[in-house]
């Protein structure tokens, strides 16, 4: 086995285990911590695919930003409710059946379609190319994204404002 294969299987096991923990653990706070592990593992997948820039973005925005926001929200709501946010799950069997059916559908499609694309050789760091694309053909999209982020920020502020 090559180094890449070993890395892939290790990351895959960590990713799937932490994902399962996210949806199965009864403690919501633990679920967020497992989500952080899953997000970092996703970043490691990006590294395996030789995209260090996306790895950095993943760590900064997801593992840094999203996890912080969610932890913050849980703290706030726990204080509001005055009790620990425990959570029980419902429809476990039905959910498992639907999820397994979706996976079976995707996997069946993957098995039937010819995906024997050979991996291209090692590529240069794509960061420069991504940057050029962002201010070139995708400049308008990038600006729209900025508008969206400002709108989302203002919307979140408006929702979470205090009443007085």
């Amino acid at each position: 086995m090559t180094l890449e294969a070993v890395g892939f299987w290790v990351v895959a096991v960590v990713l799937l285990a932490s994902s399962l923990a996210v949806v199965l653990t009864p403690n919501l706070f633990h679920a967020v911590l497992y989500l952080a592990a899953a997000l970092v593992a996703t970043g490691a997948i990006f590294l395996l695919l030789e995209q260090p820039f996306l790895f950095a973005v993943q760590l900064l925005l997801y593992a840094g930003g999203v996890v912080t926001i969610v932890v913050f929200a849980i703290m706030l709501t726990e204080r509001l409710i005055g009790e620990r946010v425990r959570q029980t799950s419902r429809h476990l069997v039905n959910g498992a059946i639907v999820a397994a059916a979706v996976f079976a559908g995707i996997a069946g499609f993957l098995l039937r379609s010819p995906l024997a694309t050979p991996r291209p050789g090692p590529v240069d760091d794509a960061t420069v190319a991504i940057g050029r694309a962002l201010v070139g053909p995708f400049a308008v999209t990038l600006e729209l994204l900025g508008v969206l982020l400002v709108t989302a920020l203002l919307g979140a502020l408006y929702f979470a404002r205090s009443d007085e």
Binding site: V22, A99, F138, L148
Partner: protein, 100 residues
């Protein structure tokens, strides 16, 4: 050698796990966590296709989805906090104000 299908199957598994979480969690924040898992699985797909086809588009698209997801989580959690304030409950089952 790890092929493209390995990455796609991994992403499909992660997506299914996230879907399971969305379907089974009672807590609104837990449902959001499941949605996060599903979106990340999609990102893995995008990056894997971009890498194996030597195309830049998937990487740029991944950047956009990551940013939009972060905005979505911020707004979603703000909504959850407001719901907590008004209804004093965390359970999605009890949020049936719009049900006729």
């Amino acid at each position: 050698m790890i092929g493209l299908s390995s990455y796609l199957v991994l992403a499909a598994l992660m997506f299914s796990i996230g879907l399971f979480g969305v379907l089974t969690r009672r807590n609104a924040v837990g449902i959001l966590l499941g949605i996060e898992l599903m979106l990340n699985a999609v990102n893995i797909n995008l990056v894997a296709f971009a890498r194996f086809h030597g195309d830049l588009l998937g990487l740029v698209f991944t950047l956009f989805t990551i940013s939009i997801t972060v905005a979505e989580v911020a707004v979603g959690l703000a909504i959850v906090i407001v719901i907590f304030r008004v209804r004093r409950t965390v359970e999605a089952d009890r949020l049936d104000l719009l049900r006729w």
